[in-house]
């Protein structure tokens, strides 16, 4: 089973909202929506693993950290994200990271 981690992204949220609307209008069942989301998890996990090939560096100050159930959650302040092409600065960012070697 793939991580459900990516459901809280623009892509995932818009999918969930669309599914919710269809459920509201009773065009699909919640069970079906769940199946769709599971399928989305698989698709996004594999797409990220295979189709994305770029690196990002970042630097900032760590505000909080949490490690629970093998999930790291960080809140950083005054962060600069640096990619080859551009620089992105944010005052606050939350990072949620699941174990990359989950099956081991």
């Amino acid at each position: 089973m793939a991580y459900q981690l990516y459901r809280n992204t623009t892509l995932g949220n818009s999918l969930q909202e669309s599914l919710d609307e269809l459920i509201q209008s009773q065009q699909i069942t919640p069970q079906l929506a769940l199946q769709v989301l599971l399928q989305f998890d698989k698709a996004i996990n594999s797409a990220l693993a295979q189709r994305v090939r770029n690196r990002v560096n970042f630097r900032g100050s760590l505000n909080t950290y949490r490690f629970c159930d093998n999930v790291w959650t960080f809140v950083l302040n005054d962060v600069e994200f640096r990619e080859v092409t551009e620089l992105i600065k944010v005052d606050k960012v939350k990072i949620v990271a699941c174990d990359g070697k989950r099956f081991f």
Binding site: Y3, L5, Y6, N8, T9, T10, L11, N13, S14, L15, E17, S18, L19, E21, L22, Q24, S25, Q26, Q27, I28, Q31, L32, V36, Q39, F40, A43, I44, N45, A47, L48, A49, R51, V52, N54, R55, V56, N57, F58, R59, S61, L62, N63, W72, F74, V79, F81, E83, I88, V90, D91, K92, V93, K94, I95, V96, A97, C98, G100, K101, R102
Partner: protein, 369 residues
């Protein structure tokens, strides 16, 4: 940096993979297409870069490109409106909410109401059944708001912030704030007042300093009672907002002047109002405080700013115009710490920073705690 193509391909994969599931469940292919359309629309609304898949959408895109963005949104708006009456709308919650986005003026640097503050405020404050507030921003160019009316009668508001980021806001309570005439009648409207508010757009010559027009209004739907509580208006032309509602609502015009005297300064220096008045008004102020957003009114500004500053918890507001919680969802390869120096080795992540999406296959970071 995210490519639209990647998102497109993911959508395609998912849709194709679930097609079988849909058919197994006996769901029509058309529903699948509708899902895809909904999904793509929401994606498109949240990002500046995007493209459509279906031909219909492409045609729409071409038409839109010929027109100005405002008209495009207007088109969407009408499109949504036309689609609405066909759906059955239960009468559970007659809520109509329209959230007017902040200024989208490219030229004018006016920031009328930060959406972040608005949404944050609205999310933070517990929306009691009594009232919720919505701010109405009147930029020099009226930007329509896209609404999506779900079958529960609640409007999913798509708020477009100044930078193009979108927030889908699903109000819990009924708050109606309309900048345009929205003739949405709910069938069998026993308690379905239609609030129409016609606002004349601001003249273009308003200077940035005074161009801020915020007219928060509260409309309560509680059973058979409907109250319209407009708050002060900070506008050079005060008589802009008129709320006319059919049914049991009271049409109110010139709300600002009527309400202004009721709102007193709590922190008044050299204020002549008595303490009793302050106490009496304080509850009312608090209620209004939750409902009101930043007020541009001359009276309101002095009163509201100290109160508002108490409400605001985050210090982002001064720095960002919208409340995007910048989130990174990813997997970690290795997290390392030495004393208070942390090193992060991350992979396969999707970031949403400043409203925009980015993706990485690897990310390395340093931070001090």
């Amino acid at each position: 940096m995210v490519e639209p193509k990647l998102y497109r391909s993911v959508i395609e994969d998912v849709i194709n993979d679930v097609r079988d599931i849909f058919l197994d469940d006996g769901v029509d292919e058309q529903v699948l297409m509708e899902l895809k359309t909904l999904w793509e629309n929401k994606l498109m609304q949240s990002r500046a870069v995007d493209g459509f898949h279906s031909e219909e959408q492409q045609l729409l895109l071409q038409v839109q490109q010929q027109h100005q963005p405002q008209q495009q949104q207007h088109h969407h708006h009408h499109h949504h409106q036309q689609a609405q009456p066909q759906q059955t709308v239960p009468q559970q919650a007659q809520t109509q909410q329209v959230l007017i986005p902040a200024s989208q003026q490219a030229a004018a640097p006016q920031v009328i109401v930060p959406d972040s503050k608005l949404i944050q405020h609205m999310n933070a404050s517990n929306m009691s059944a009594a009232a919720t507030a919505a701010t109405l921003a009147l930029p020099a160019g009226v930007t329509p708001v896209q609404q999506i009316l779900t079958n529960s009668g609640q409007l999913l508001q798509v708020v477009r912030a100044a930078n193009g980021a979108q927030y889908i806001f699903q109000p819990q309570q009924s708050v109606v704030l309309q900048q345009q005439v929205i003739p949405q009648m709910q069938p069998g409207g026993v308690q379905a007042p239609v609030i129409q508010q016609v606002l004349a757009p601001l003249p273009g010559g308003i200077s940035p300093q005074t161009g801020v027009i915020i007219q928060p209004q509260q409309i309560l739907f509680t059973g058979n009672k409907t109250q319209v509580i407009p708050t002060t208006v900070a506008a050079p032309t005060p008589a802009q907002a008129q709320i006319t509602a059919t049914g049991q609502q009271q049409p109110q015009a010139q709300p600002a002047q009527q309400q202004a005297p009721l709102v007193l300064q709590v922190d008044g220096t050299g204020d002549t109002s008595s303490e009793e008045d302050e106490d009496e008004e304080e509850d009312y102020d608090d209620d209004e405080e939750e409902d009101k957003e930043k007020d541009g009114a001359e009276d309101g500004q002095v009163e509201e700013e100290p109160l508002n500053s108490e409400d605001d918890v985050s210090d982002e507001e001064g720095q960002e115009l919208f409340d995007t919680e910048n989130v990174v969802v990813c997997q970690y390869d290795k997290i390392h710490r030495s004393k208070n120096k942390w090193k992060f080795h991350l992979k396969d992540g999707i970031m949403n920073l400043n409203g925009r999406d980015y993706i990485f296959s690897k990310a390395i970071g340093d931070a001090e705690w």
